[in-house]
């Protein structure tokens, strides 16, 4: 019997990623092609390949990309159990009407 490899639950990965304060939202890439294609729906921002898991996020404006990535990595790494994890910061959410991001920009 062909045994299918077990893959991490994409919804759990999204929940863990979005719980990070440095993450504004998940990113679907340029065309929205970065996703897990499930029956009936797709989970944006998570791509599971045989050689590893990719997490694509849009970070908040302020912290450095290194800080964003290390926060996501710390949250997601326990869920992928040993498979290679790649964290992409596709964009930064700079909300110019939000005083906190303005403050972060001038700081």
């Amino acid at each position: 019997m062909t045994a299918l490899p077990t893959v991490p639950d994409p919804d759990a990965l999204v929940a863990a990623t979005l719980a990070c304060p440095h993450v504004a939202s998940m990113s679907g890439g340029l065309l929205g092609e970065v996703a897990t294609y499930l029956p009936g729906r797709r989970v944006r921002g998570i791509r599971t390949r045989p050689d590893g898991v990719e997490v694509h996020v849009i970070g908040v404006f302020g912290p450095s990309v290194t800080e964003i990535v290390s926060q996501v990595r710390a949250a997601v790494e326990p869920l992928v159990r040993g498979t290679e994890l790649t964290v992409h910061v596709d964009d930064l959410a700079a909300d110019l009407d939000d005083p906190t991001t303005k403050g972060a920009r001038s700081a």
């Binding site: 019997m1 062909t2 065309l31 092609e33 970065v34 996703a35 294609y37 029956p39 791509r47």
Partner: protein, 153 residues
């Protein structure tokens, strides 16, 4: 092996039951090609990013057939070719994907869904699922939708 706990755990982990369940000393269970075709067709269609199944000619014939009154509606096994043996099955799929999806990831997802569904429902071991992408669907080039409002109320 036949204890209820073993059965449940094999269902939850997605591991299929042993393929030899189809061929026993008390008799054989045979599964027709049409059954495998339908299961493969439905489970491939379910995957997000798949627009339609079938090659160009089959899709045109399908569109014609759907318009004939009294026809049984869309053919779920359109675009599916199977080879079924006593214990194993091989699947070939012709699909049309949506614009903007990652074809590699959609194909991998189709493979996973088709294999899981077939092995759970029929107990057949799926040796291969070949996906051939025949076309890409661009939203808006559907001739079915009327662009003008109806002239009469």
């Amino acid at each position: 092996m036949s204890s209820p706990t073993a059965e449940t755990s094999s269902m939850t982990t997605g591991k299929p039951s042993a393929s030899s369940d189809l061929v026993t000393s008390q008799g054989r269970t045979t599964i027709a090609d049409a059954v495998v075709r339908k299961i493969a067709g439905v489970s491939a269609r379910e995957v997000s990013g798949v627009h339609k199944l079938g090659t160009g000619g089959a899709r045109a014939m399908g569109a014609l057939r759907e318009r004939i009154p009294g026809s049984s509606g869309p053919n779920v096994s359109q675009g599916v070719t199977v080879e079924v043996g006593e214990r194993q099955a091989a699947i070939d799929l012709d699909i049309v994907v949506e614009y903007g999806v990652s074809i590699v990831d959609v194909a991998a997802s189709i493979r996973r869904n088709v294999i899981t569904s077939l092995q759970r429902m029929t107990g057949l071991e799926v040796t291969e699922v070949n996906v051939s992408v025949d076309d890409i669907y661009i939203p808006g080039d559907d001739q079915q939708e009327p662009s003008e409002p109806p002239r009469v109320q």
